[in-house]
């Protein structure tokens, strides 16, 4: 059931991507995301596609596992694509009733869909190959300069790590509560909208109660171990760039320059 949700989950295999420094992956993800927006040409998207396929292949994460993570985004995708198709002014192709389909609309909708899908795949590739702890470390180090302007970088990174860590726990908890209520004859699948919304109460109330309980427990446990924020803390495994990271940065740079250049192409 809910076990199928893969957002933010780590996929434990060994691969060249898993082995990279998390900062490299963070930078790579940003470069990839920006590159999707600087290019407007077909060739640019083709290059991005090849890059993505290449990355997925060497990450050893099954492609099916990644595409499964796309399911929740599907609704947003359908809505934004149909808005683009029907509401973009331009050369009229055909019309279904009041809905006008234009050539420009189709084009923007297509690009939009590709961008959205690649955005999700690109960023989930990062979370699939990086543990939440590594990811937080990377964020904390990369954004460390913001400390100078009194942004609590460590605290924000910590909150993010905890949030990521809690996703699978809360999913499991929801699954358990749902099943417990189903065992008591609850029905989540039939009835009209109001009945279905009402059927959620027996899930949401226990879920909130347990989320607060877990949060309080965690806060107590952190305090019992004298957690006091980031100041003066050292790391057991400090982040260090290796040769493969340097190579990865070189590849990223080449990729990014090419993508910018394709932005000037007319195709």
């Amino acid at each position: 059931m809910l076990r199928d949700i893969t957002i933010g989950q780590y996929y434990p295999v060994r691969s060249p991507i898993h082995g990279l420094d998390p900062r490299t992956k963070l930078a790579g993800t940003f470069i990839f995301l920006i590159s999707l927006f600087v290019t407007k040409s077909l060739i640019g998207y083709l290059i991005a596609t090849f890059a993505l396929i290449f990355l997925i292949r060497i990450s050893r994460v099954p492609a099916r596992y990644i595409t499964k993570g796309l399911k929740p985004v599907l609704i947003i995708l359908v809505i934004s694509v149909s808005f683009n198709i029907f509401l973009t002014p331009g050369r009229l192709l055909f019309a279904i009733g009041p809905l006008k389909v234009t050539a420009e609309g189709l084009k923007t909708a297509g690009f939009m869909a590709i961008r959205l899908i690649y955005l999700v795949i690109g960023s989930s590739l990062m979370t699939l190959t990086t543990t939440p702890t590594q990811l937080t470390d990377a964020l904390e180090r990369s954004l460390g300069f913001l400390n100078k302007v009194h942004v609590p970088v460590h605290e924000i990174a910590m909150m993010m790590a905890i949030a990521l860590r809690f996703i699978p726990i809360l999913i499991e908890e929801t699954d358990k509560i749902m099943k417990a209520q189903m065992a008591r004859g609850a029905d989540f699948e039939s009835g009209n909208l109001i009945r279905r919304a009402k059927a959620l109460v027996p899930i949401l109330v226990p879920l909130f109660v347990s989320a607060f309980r877990r949060a309080a427990d965690l806060a107590n446990a952190m305090e019992a171990r004298c957690y006091h924020g980031g100041g003066g803390r050292t790391k057991m495994r400090p982040l260090k760039y290796g040769t493969s990271d340097k190579r990865a940065y070189a590849v990223m740079l080449v990729y990014f320059v090419i993508m910018i250049l394709t932005g000037f192409l007319k195709i």
């Binding site: 076990r3 996929y11 434990p12 295999v13 099954p62 099916r64 596992y65 358990k176 509560i177 099943k179 417990a180 209520q181 189903m182 065992a183 008591r184 004859g185 609850a186 029905d187 109460v201 027996p202 109330v205 226990p206 109660v209 347990s210």
Partner: protein, 282 residues
Amino acid sequence: MSIRAEHLTHLYSPGTAFESYALKDISFEIADGSFVAVIGHTGSGKSTLIQHLNGLYRPTSGTVYYNGEDIFAEGYDLKALRTKIGLVFQYPEYQLFEEDVITDVMFGPKNMGLSDDEARARAKKALMQVGIGESLYKRSPFDLSGGQKRRVAIAGVLAMDPEVLILDEPTAGLDPRGREETLAMLEELHSERKITVILVSHSMDDVAECADMLMVLKDAELKFFDRPKEVFRHVEELESYGLAVPEITYLAHDLIKAGLDIDPTVSTVSEAKAELLKLLKW
């Protein structure tokens, strides 16, 4: 009339790095009115197994028959089945959600389509059976003590008047007195209501006293399904599964080693007492 599992196999996350067997080719038959204990180490598949019995999980292969009918067959009414096979989850107090105790217990019966009055009558009967007094009916379930919450949650399943009652570690996290009270309550339900009870546990001492059949799971496989006394003969195997025989059985074995002639399958304190008295020729 029975629950019969045939070659039940369940595979988690097939085709990914998380793939693992939760159940491997498990077959058994539980007769009506029996008291079965399912025992096994953490992660041995106990909880997964019982969730197949009321159709919350679908097996990868194999099936379950209830009273001769395949519960995973097309068109089988699983919702009706779940009212006949009551399942109390581990830490059931976390499923409470209503404003007061009585309304929460009425949730199950109301889902069965009973009227308010009928549901209330059933809830009252169930609450009485678990030892929750009328003074608590209007209290918020979140204000009760841990043991009380758990009993209210068990009443929530009992109120549906199931033919089979399955409980997943009902004594987990309770103090010794709460543990004893819960087990005594189950024995009473079993003998009074004549319902089948399936109890999941990892404490041999808990189950030796009340169960008449014992199911031992290890790494998704069914290792033993026999009367407790027969199972307790296999001390070394049980220990290699990370399980133990009841404390009193260990004591009996030590006494035999010391030269006393008593039955090695002793598994409860009262049996041990009888054996020792026999030895003393009382």
